[in-house]
Symmetry: C2
Subunit: 334 residues, 2 copies
């Protein structure tokens, strides 16, 4: 037989007070006489009463939970952002629903709808492809959203990010100094703003600044996965390419391992700069030189921004740009 759950009503009866009073002590409302509060607390403990968050959510229209859509839980980039998000959420007493979107627009739409159906108070969106349909969904629901670690071309969705374009330019700058016009851009899908506009833009900026002619053959677009980059190595070398700025760390490690396994020495024969400074850059041998980003902070700041927007609808909604840096490790020559 189902054990009868103890509800707020059970507690009220047992403590000889009204449900309202129990509700007050549970929610820390100060308008309760200390003696009453204690009595209620005792009964709660004795009965092991646990408030039902679903009922609470329905009655109060606030669930104190935020949805976090993450494209790939397996990817250290988003995973490290998630850490920052989680910590700040906990600090502000929000719970989190982490929802995997799998890099897939259809699935993303599905998980977003789920999140919204669950009445989350806000959402953190990680990922590069917020489709129009998804934006519509958010706007209709009138739920605050902040983008973390990417960029989206819509003023309604503020992003917490770094200046991808500038960072890319700086990385390519370094590479050009050693390798002149033999520097490639190895990128994930260019249809995403972050790649096609920002990072490619930075690549071109660097070329322009150094008077190197832009050569389409030097930008190689991939699906963003390790294996693709692994295969790529020898082709690049055959084309005379001597260095690459790579838009994500999976790709960077894949490229390097592919090169190394084919007897091409990094950095002597080929220089690589990675983008995200995830763990991967330090696990690899040689270790990857990389643009550095405050991954944890990106998540933390995004969550903090979201808490503000959940509490006060008219927070300004413009991107927050955090500082980036660069670290020279073993995949570049000084």
């Amino acid at each position: 037989m189902e054990k009868q759950a103890v509800t707020i009503y059970t507690v009220a009866r047992e403590a000889r007070v009204s449900m309202a009073t129990v509700s007050r002590v549970v929610n820390g409302n100060p308008n309760v006489k200390p003696a009453t509060r204690q009595k209620v607390l005792d009964v709660i403990k004795q009965l092991n009463y646990r408030p039902n968050a679903v009922a609470r959510g329905l009655a109060s229209k606030r669930t104190t939970t935020v949805g976090v859509v993450i494209p790939d839980i397996t990817n250290p980039y988003s995973a490290e952002l998630a850490l920052g998000i989680d910590d700040i959420a906990t600090m502000y007493k929000y719970n989190i629903i982490l929802a995997n979107s799998d890099y897939d627009s259809e699935k993303t739409l599905k998980v977003v709808r789920n999140l919204l159906a669950k009445q989350v108070d806000g959402v953190i969106f990680m990922g590069n492809n917020m489709t129009e349909e998804i934006k519509e969904e958010f706007k209709n629901a009138n739920t605050p959203v902040v983008v973390a670690g990417s960029i989206v071309d819509d003023k309604e969705f503020p992003a917490v990010r770094i200046d991808y374009r500038k960072a890319a330019k700086e990385a390519v700058d370094k590479l050009i100094d050693h390798n002149k016009d033999h520097v490639a851009l190895v990128s994930g899908p260019l249809k995403y703003t972050i790649n096609g506009d920002e990072k490619l833009g930075g690549y071109k900026d660097a070329l322009a600044a150094k008077n190197v002619k832009y050569d389409e053959d030097l930008v190689v677009e991939t699906d963003g996965l390790y294996d693709s980059a692994y295969q790529l190595g020898k082709d690049l070398v055959a084309k005379g390419i001597k260095a690459a700025y790579v838009t994500n760390d999976h790709l960077a490690v894949g490229l390097m391992n592919g090169l190394t396994d084919n007897g091409i020495k990094v950095p002597d024969d080929f220089e690589i700069i990675a983008s995200n400074d995830t763990k991967y850059t330090r696990l690899a041998r040689p270790m990857l030189s990389s643009i550095t980003q405050p991954l944890y902070d990106l998540g933390a700041v995004a969550m903090r921004l979201l808490t503000k927007r959940m509490e006060d609808q008219d927070e300004p909604e413009s991107d927050v740009i955090l500082d980036h840096g660069f670290v020279d490790r073993q995949s570049t020559r000084g």
Copy 2:
């Protein structure tokens, strides 16, 4: 002004039917005349009605969501399990709340309480330390729980896992063949059943089978983190140790990198076998030989088991053991 939400009642009024009928079409109940169904569907579309999952959960006492407690989202081991969990959950129309427990018992207890307060229909527990307090929590709530990718010493919580002890024995067997009595066990915290009982047990089994005397100095316990293992390398060599079976992949890569960076050659001077066959084993150079586990399947099977237990309380509750294997890569000699 808050835009007035459209509820099931709005739809009912607009479609000139009762709430019950709307509820029926929303839930795919066949007892609705096609014409009526169509009319309701039209209104739903026109009004862009979205059912409120919170209200539904309260009324039906089922949330169709399961909680997944994950110790470290950043760890590829649990992340890959999560993939399998997610896919099967989706297949069976359950939503997932991924909750980070951070390897911390206090935090784990907190997230478990949250999950339960949210009235999840079941939970998948990843992680090695299910404390008594947490077990109590689950039992009181009377919520089905399945452990994935670990083992817990309590018959109430069936685990989906491999035979850790046997796998460990096999790995150590190989190592002893080449390195006699110079084989270490590098482990995460031994207080966890999976390490202290299973893997250490397997290590001892192998020694016994090969008539090698057990030497306490050869089992080195760590906190399980990359850096600890990285530091460890030279000490092990100084002790005369020539090989190690390592209980997790972070540790294994750390150990190897520490060794390599100190000029010790793997596998020529030191052999390593890792436990989990995560991505890390393939990113590293040399690539790590490892016990192999069907990571995705472990998660998938766990979720499948959970769906059964959620629908039918009296599913048998014993562990499900999946097959493991072994792959020779570059950190062992043939």
